[in-house]
Symmetry: C2
Subunit: 677 residues, 2 copies
């Protein structure tokens, strides 16, 4: 297969490349009699050094582009043998093939649909439903989750090596009904490769006179067609957001995005979804590098309820399901508003063939209010500039939950990542007299929203003015001098204290709100001309609750990464997933804890920053039947990087009209047009 | 003067009422020979009980409206005697007149301009400027600040009873020049009533070979007309935000605002600026009360530098200057975009006459992205609803700083308050070889941005389904059972712990990020039908750094309110300002600490909540010469108040077009129109 000349080495596999990979792999297995599925097919990113060398001057490069390679994961059935296959697209052949057992790749969406269909026909499941009064199994819906943990032998707590899903059970009163209003009181433990039910685990009502919880039959719809049409709001007038001259950004070669002074590469894969690479900022004549690669690398959603079957709920949505696998096809006017450029995303189906997610990534600009304003109070002369941001986003659906994932780039050189958690609570059922406290909150009669957390880990591979960076912790504290001391006469003195992390063991740290702790990613080889200190970007998040499952709990052991707000590691090719590449049913402490077992230097070298942020969510009644977005995220801002506010060259927002004094009554809101330059 | 029949008792004084008040007061003093200025004229709000009784059924009320009263503060010159005068507009006469000495009302903007003109002509000031090489005093600018503290006798640290300003000194290279690029190295201590300079305090360079810092003469402009025109950005295409059918809100009787299911009253005065009162939400057939009154009641900006003259910088912008006094006249397309309704604000001038701030308050709607979305992953059927918010905002200029103050109301019953800090850093000068660390950061050669905090206190007078409310603290913690315990077999158990505050001493509490602490404002007399717990609203802020000046420092003693995140007090008429009504040069521990000296019941009674939030700001080079907005604020969300998400009755956002699969290359961003219903 011919690789296009000036293709970016981090471009995701194209539809043609997917076809080619599938064909090469299937051909290699055609003589075998083994059944297998393609779990994932993804670009195997070339080593960073190769990419950087090639990109130095991509258009005039004398270097050959790095080899195009794909990493393919096959699951043999029913053996569960994992085939880790490297396909060289450049050579048109398989270059590596390893067989593993006892590890579990991501659950493919089709595996889940398949599992549901098998479980629903299982006799034990049918019997259990019958006991609850269900005679028509087409009203039963099963959400298959990774099992969290399952012990072959509970006395010896090691993960069962089988590929296991837990099926969460729901009833629907009609096809479009909201199933989370009708949870059933049991979970199905399912062997995915053997395609058979292992066990049924019934939940036991607590402090209840009932032996079993009945199904709450009241509907809680949120789809407008199921609501009382007369009660829909009619008094919200349209807001139109348009760009009559088009957008201010350009997309080149499908994946290179240029906007204002930002340049970057947009990638996509089954696991991390959107990946932003090679981020630079044009500072005068200089194109300054900021980040090599940023992606959401893992997450964990631990639930609070300690009892069976609910204590299996600890979703690692990146590693267990894949953000790309769960990405929505977006619709204009609903998910994004304005002048939109969509990129498609490509994942593979169970046969390895490409499955295109149309409009997977939304790229657009937003007006986000003031960027800055100052008025000279003596003259009244005011200058205000509005803030425009470039948004690169996708939305995923993880069964009940939906997450909007937003990368924001601003005109003042700052960057933000925001997650909007929405969708539906993962409910479970209560007996009529059961009280879900303290592990959950009632959201409707007999329906409980279990308390849970969403902890996300961002992998940030910085390149602040070059590949060698350091990370400095900053804490702001009162000065040590007592009040009245010559150096603190009236007691107001306070100051930042700083610590540059030298080694990996120093760089595993929790946030500290009491010291307004933040981090500065710095380049110690480049001093700022004014401050005489290393140039840097500030990294901060206000959404850093501690992981609440106890140390030693299964959730915490598997998600060690989430127990610290920040980790810094030396860059290693292939270290992408802090909870392990094979994250489903993972053993304790794989990924980040493994990589940092040996203490390593992280000062003034090529480093990767791993940032945990998220939410602790005690569901409200108002989060049901569908949840208004809860947001969390982090910021990166230039701090001693530029020679001043990089946004002062933005022309002022244009004023069209300005009102006169008005002391008379206005009984209706006035209309006025507005245009911003 | 005739009071309009159906006037709302909390309507701010009208222009006519200002005239009437001034005339009544001036008449009463016409035989005196004393010189005086009007410091402030403001509606004296009637007792809450009277207001509520009258509002029960305002349009059919058999009750007379509460008396219209104004509170007038006069300052006699040069004696500094304060006249606290109550004028009854209903009766057309003065009903109360008290004289006080040794307290200092807010600085009127005109007092500051006047002070600058006097200081600039002072011989000591001229001499000091001459020594720095300034011969033309028209190039010198003085920002007069409240003095923070000033001791008549430094051995006996009591505030000097004179009305004192500190004049911060700057140079301009031209009329529109950015003065904060050229700070001078001294401060002028000024007696406002005597109109004379008391003293000049020079700053001493630290660890420097220089005796005095020279003036940094390099310009750091940000006004576009002073920038290189060729370097302004030209590649940002317009975004137009329009409402072709007009806005969705209505303003009645000038001050009543109705939008979607929200109803509220908008007030304005010299001190708190915008005040939101009588907030209700229409829940089906019931109009449910939420808040009696919300306003920004005080703030403090302590600076970190412990040395003279900089340790006097601790700005209480509400109490020392007045948010209303500093409110900008807004311009369409610059400050607000879209279809805007403006309200004017009225303050008094030094003669007590009304001074109208045109377009002081901006009221408009914003599209703010997703409100919620859920996709059924089996069918791909998606439902997404965009979020609309009503914004009530004003912008103030506090000398160098500018603050955007935003009240947001959402369609899901939630409320947010956000402050955008922008404008200019309060800089001071450095000697050529001076290092400002650890108390400041260099933002340009010889120019330092001193480290500081912005701590805001919101006064929230809740009325959750009635006047009697309680406040419950919620902390989320791991369960106490060890891992492996029958009640915590795999260690994931965690839970909220709650404490309802009984008395004022229990309710003086700092935030706690480690427990994701938030508060629930509840009505214990009204249980939610599902949860069987009191209905409530959740109150939370992520911007709650501790106050960093030490306990016992002047800043902390004067701003005791800011040392705790939350205080709860029983409602008392007239308790509006937590740092004291006479906040300038205040003695320690007035306001909130006084009111809570005696322990009082705050459970299931009429309470007021005082919330501190803010920012710790270590200036970046990128915050100069004008600062990109830094935001902070808080949220209030219904939590067990409604019977579900109150926004599910919003019709879906309309989809106009949806793209087809696109696997070909796109070299230019595509254009598409979008309309949202």
């Amino acid at each position: 297969m011919v690789i296009e000349q000036k293709q970016h080495p981090l471009d995701p596999l194209s539809v043609e490349e997917f076809h080619a990979v599938a064909s090469i792999v299937r051909k290699a297995r055609q003589d075998e009699n083994t059944k297998y599925i393609f779990s994932s097919v993804v670009l195997k990113e070339p080593p960073k050094k190769q990419v950087l060398a090639y990109l130095q001057d991509i258009n005039n490069s004398a270097l050959d582009p790095p080899d195009r390679e794909a990493l393919v994961i096959l699951i043999d059935r029913p053996s569960g043998v994992i085939n880790e296959i490297t396909v060289s697209l450049t050579q048109g052949s398989i270059t590596k093939w390893e067989k593993l057992q006892g590890v579990q790749p991501t659950q493919h969406p089709e595996e889940m649909l398949e599992a549901e269909q098998i479980m629903i026909k299982d006799e034990k499941v049918i019997k259990e439903c019958h006991e609850l009064g269900i005679t028509d199994m087409s009203t039963v819906y099963i959400d298959p989750w990774a099992v969290g943990y399952y012990y072959a032998n509970p006395k010896e707590p090691k993960q069962d090596k089988r590929r296991i899903m837990q099926g969460l059970m729901y009833y629907r009163t009609s096809k479009d009904d909201n199933q989370y209003a009708h949870p059933l009181d049991f979970t199905v433990i399912f062997d995915v490769n053997a395609q058979e039910v292992i066990e049924i685990v019934r939940s036991k009502p607590h402090n209840s006179k009932y032996e079993r919880a009945t199904i709450p039959m009241t509907n809680h719809h949120f789809l407008p067609e199921h609501l009382d049409q007369d009660k829909l709001r009619t008094d919200i007038k349209p807001i139109e957001i348009t760009q009559p001259e088009g957008v201010s950004f350009t997309v080149k070669n499908n994946h290179m995005l240029e906007w204002q002074k930002w340049h970057m590469h947009i990638g996509f894969n089954y696991r991390e979804g959107v990946i932003i690479s090679n981020v630079t900022y044009q500072d005068g004549d200089e194109k300054r590098s900021l980040f090599y690669r940023i992606s959401l690398s893992e997450m964990v959603v631990p639930y609070a309820n300690p009892y069976e079957p609910y204590n299996h709920k600890m979703a690692f949505d990146v590693g267990e399901y894949g953000l790309g696998n769960m990405t929505n096809s977006l619709e204009l006017g609903c998910d994004c508003v304005g002048d939109i450029y969509y990129m498609d995303g490509v994942i593979s189906d169970l046969k390895g063939e490409p499955s295109v997610i149309n409009n997977a990534i939304c790229i657009h600009e937003e007006d986000v209010g003031l960027l800055f304003k100052h008025t000279d109070y003596r003259t009244g002369k005011a200058h205000s500039v509005r803030s425009r941001r470039l948004v690169v986003s996708n939305i995923i659906t993880a069964a009940n939950y939906d997450y909007g994932l937003y990368y924001y780039f601003y005109q003042d050189g700052s960057f933000q990542y925001e997650i909007k958690a929405t969708g539906e609570l993962n409910t479970h059922v209560l007996a009529e007299d059961e009280d879900p406290t303290p592990y959950g909150s009632i959201v409707a009669p007999q329906v409980v929203g279990q308390h849970h957390q969403h902890l996300f880990m961002m992998r940030i591979d910085p390149m602040i003015d070059g590949p060698n960076n350091s990370v400095m912790q900053v804490d702001v504290v009162p000065a040590s001098y007592p009040v009245g001391h010559a150096d603190n006469p009236v007691g107001n003195a306070f100051m930042p204290t700083t610590q540059i992390y030298n080694t990996t063991d120093e760089a595993q740290v929790r946030s500290n709100a009491e010291t307004s702790r933040f981090w500065q990613i710095i380049n110690e080889s480049k001093l700022h001309p004014y401050t005489k200190k290393p140039v840097g970007y500030k990294l901060s998040s206000l959404n850093t609750p501690p992981m609440l499952p106890k140390p030693g709990s299964i959730a915490t052991e598997r998600a060690q990464f989430a127990t610290k707000t920040i980790w810094v590691t030396p860059y290693e090719d292939g270290q992408l997933y802090p909870g392990g590449f094979y994250c489903s049913q993972s053993e304790p402490r794989i990924g980040l804890p493994e990589w940092t077992e040996e203490v390593k230097n992280i000062r003034d070298t090529d480093v990767v920053i791993w940032l945990t942020f998220g939410l602790t969510h005690l569901p409200r009644v108002e989060d049901f039947p569908v949840m208004p977005v809860e947001t969390c995220g982090f910021h990166m801002k230039p701090s001693g990087f530029f020679l001043g506010n990089p946004g002062i060259d933005i022309p002022p927002s244009k004023k069209i009209t300005s009102k006169k004094s008005r002391t008379t009554k206005a009984t209706n809101a006035e209309k006025e047009e507005c245009h911003c330059a």
